[in-house]
């Protein structure tokens, strides 16, 4: 069901929509003022849980629950931190950037509420280096908020200092992984850390830290302004604790690629046809990648398998994957992941082997190299797919590809490994016939296309 919202997007495209004036004219900073002057920290985390905000960074972990992992009391005299993840580098993801550029005050206000809720006095916002305009807008918003006294020693008159610092990376996808991001923030190589300890125990600079995606934080003021329970109920998946609204993206082979704010519950078919204007050239769909390149591709013919009658997901049993509400748990039972909630559409006519080569080139390039299965596996996957396209491979080698991908699973420090292996295995399994045609020489690289008309 399509239910449009404009909590975050109402400022988009307006002249100076990113300014404090514009933000306050629409009721901005009321939530933060109320939280700081009327609520205790415990009340804030309890309320936050009711919003059922599932992390917007990819894994979909409940935000309020994560907040409650923070120690009740900071270790004597030590700071605790909020770290906001705006690395936005997952291929196919184009939503956080729009918030930073068009509505940066929602991020600032979200940081104020979140800091108070988790017991932190400082928020770090980690923005990938390429997003210069986004960073400029964030710094400007922080400055405006400071001048108003919403940040600093006494935000809204409350003796609870809050400061925000924007930090930047250096062009690596892996710095989006939360512990790599923390290393990068500390001025080190962005290599993921072994867990435990988890960031809530020892995060930035060794201190308890909550890591949240930028959109997760930006929607917090809306939830508190509406009342978190009411916010959650906007969603068609409220009963599954997947609440509220979020930014949905649609890109690739659609007529009108875009980012749009919708209540949770829109289906992929609605996103592609009603929002995205349909598939390029009115073609059929070859496949959809639901939320960034690390989420396994779905065929338009697949259906949901949830035979257990006791499961709350049983109501989707047998439903086509394009017709279920796009949510964290519905995509999981579809055998993929909601990820970053930006859908990439590939039309019939696209060569899936070439698409996989493109993605494997990405993963080979971005592996940080700490774990042998990931470093070697990602390079091997790329090499063999290239050989297949060039007609230099064999059926044995094609069969081996699955094993190479599988050997990465579960043998690595961070989830990058799975994020490489799972989409690789999905391409191999779902488009097996296409791969075979190249191996048998029935198709050559010259036939392979990624664009359609």
């Amino acid at each position: 069901m399509i239910k449009t919202c404009n909590h975050l997007t109402k400022h988009y495209g307006k002249p100076n929509g990113w300014s404090l004036d514009a933000y306050e004219r629409e009721g901005g900073y009321k939530a933060a003022r109320r939280v700081l002057t009327e609520m205790t920290r415990e009340q804030v985390t309890d309320e936050a849980k009711k919003a059922n905000i599932r992390g917007r960074g990819g894994a979909g972990f409940p935000m309020g629950v994560k907040w409650s992992f923070m120690p009740k009391q900071a270790p004597a005299g030590k700071p605790m931190y909020l770290a906001v993840n705006a690395d936005e580098s997952e291929p196919g993801t184009h939503k956080d950037r729009t918030i930073m550029e068009e509505n940066p005050h929602s991020v600032v206000e979200g940081c104020i509420i979140a800091c108070y809720g988790i017991g932190a006095n400082k928020a770090w916002i980690y923005v990938r280096d390429e997003l210069h305009l986004a960073r400029e807008r964030l710094w400007a918003a922080i400055k405006e908020a400071k001048q108003k006294g919403y940040l600093g020693a006494n935000p809204f008159g409350k003796a609870y200092p809050i400061d925000i610092v924007v930090h930047t990376g250096g062009g690596t996808y892996i710095c989006g992984e939360e512990t790599a991001m923390l290393n990068s923030l500390e001025g080190k190589r962005g290599e993921p850390r072994l867990k435990p300890p988890f960031p809530a125990q020892a995060g930035a600079f060794g201190m308890p830290t909550t890591v949240n995606n930028l959109e997760t934080i930006a929607i917090v003021p809306t939830a508190f302004e509406m009342g978190c329970d009411k916010f959650s109920q906007q969603s068609a998946l409220h009963d599954l604790k997947d609440g509220g609204c979020r930014l949905y993206g649609v890109n690739g082979h659609v007529k009108k690629p875009q980012v749009i704010e919708l209540a949770v519950g829109v289906t992929m078919r609605e996103l592609i046809y009603d929002i995205g204007g349909g598939v390029t050239g009115d073609r059929e769909i070859l496949g959809v990648i639901p939320g960034g390149s690390s989420t396994p591709v779905l065929l338009p013919t697949e259906t949901i398998h949830a035979p257990d009658e006791k499961s709350p997901l049983h109501r989707f049993h047998g439903v086509n994957v394009l017709d279920v509400p796009l949510g964290v748990d519905t995509m999981r039972i579809a055998g993929t992941m909601l990820g970053t909630c930006c859908v990439t559409v590939m039309a019939v006519g696209t060569c899936p082997v070439l698409a996989m080569e493109n993605l494997m080139q990405f993963y080979r390039h971005e592996s940080c190299g700490q774990c042998t299965p990931c470093r070697e596996g990602s390079a091997w996957l790329k090499r063999v797919v290239t050989k297949i396209l060039d007609g230099e491979s064999s059926m044995e080698e094609l069969n081996e590809l699955h094993d190479i991908a599988n050997s990465i699973m579960g043998n690595t420090i961070c989830a990058f490994g799975e994020g490489t292996a799972m989409p690789a295995m999905a391409f191999l399994k779902k488009y097996r016939k296409d791969f075979e045609k190249y191996v048998r020489g029935e198709k050559t690289r010259k036939d392979a296309r990624l664009t359609v008309t």
Partner: protein, 159 residues
């Protein structure tokens, strides 16, 4: 001449250092500041920064080699990055790259003879909804057409 930051940037570095609980944390922002001035990061600059932040030159070198946006050798006056990743490729990034190579007379990864433009490919730049796209220095150019690309590149060539 030994490396030094301009007075403005030196002040900015002092301000940057005040943001963090450790000096080491200023490594990345400082490197960006230095590269903005020089266009790249030399061995001498790394040693300069190591002294400044009380860290080892090996630490700074480790950071510079990890992050691809730090240039370890001089590059052109302008940086052109064309996004090559799947969502952009589905919307014609491949042709954009070919067109840029032809127009500039260089292959990806190289700098034009006059030293003006370095052409490179980038991985997804969070702009897939407005693909194909490229980044020129600090600016994004989205929904590219051949005419737009020509205008953008010709302006750089004239500069």
């Amino acid at each position: 001449m030994p490396f030094a930051l301009s007075a403005d940037r030196e002040r900015e570095l002092t301000e940057i250092l005040s943001r963090y609980p450790t000096k080491m944390a200023a490594t990345l922002p400082a490197l960006h500041l230095m590269q903005e001035q020089e266009g790249w990061v030399s061995e001498e600059m790394m040693i300069w920064l190591a002294h400044k932040l009380d860290v080892s030159p090996a630490h700074v070198r480790g950071v510079v080699t990890f992050y691809p946006l730090f240039n370890q050798e001089p590059v052109g006056k302008h940086q052109v990055w064309v996004c090559r990743t799947l969502p952009c490729a589905l919307r014609g990034a491949g042709d954009v790259i070919k067109h840029c190579e032809k127009k500039l007379g260089v292959h990806v990864g190289h700098t034009t003879k006059d030293g003006k433009i370095t052409l490179r490919t980038a991985e997804c730049l969070a702009s897939c909804g407005t693909a194909p796209m490229m980044q020129v220095d600090k600016e994004y150019h989205e929904n590219l057409t051949t005419e737009r690309i020509d205008q953008i590149l010709e302006k750089l060539q004239r500069d």
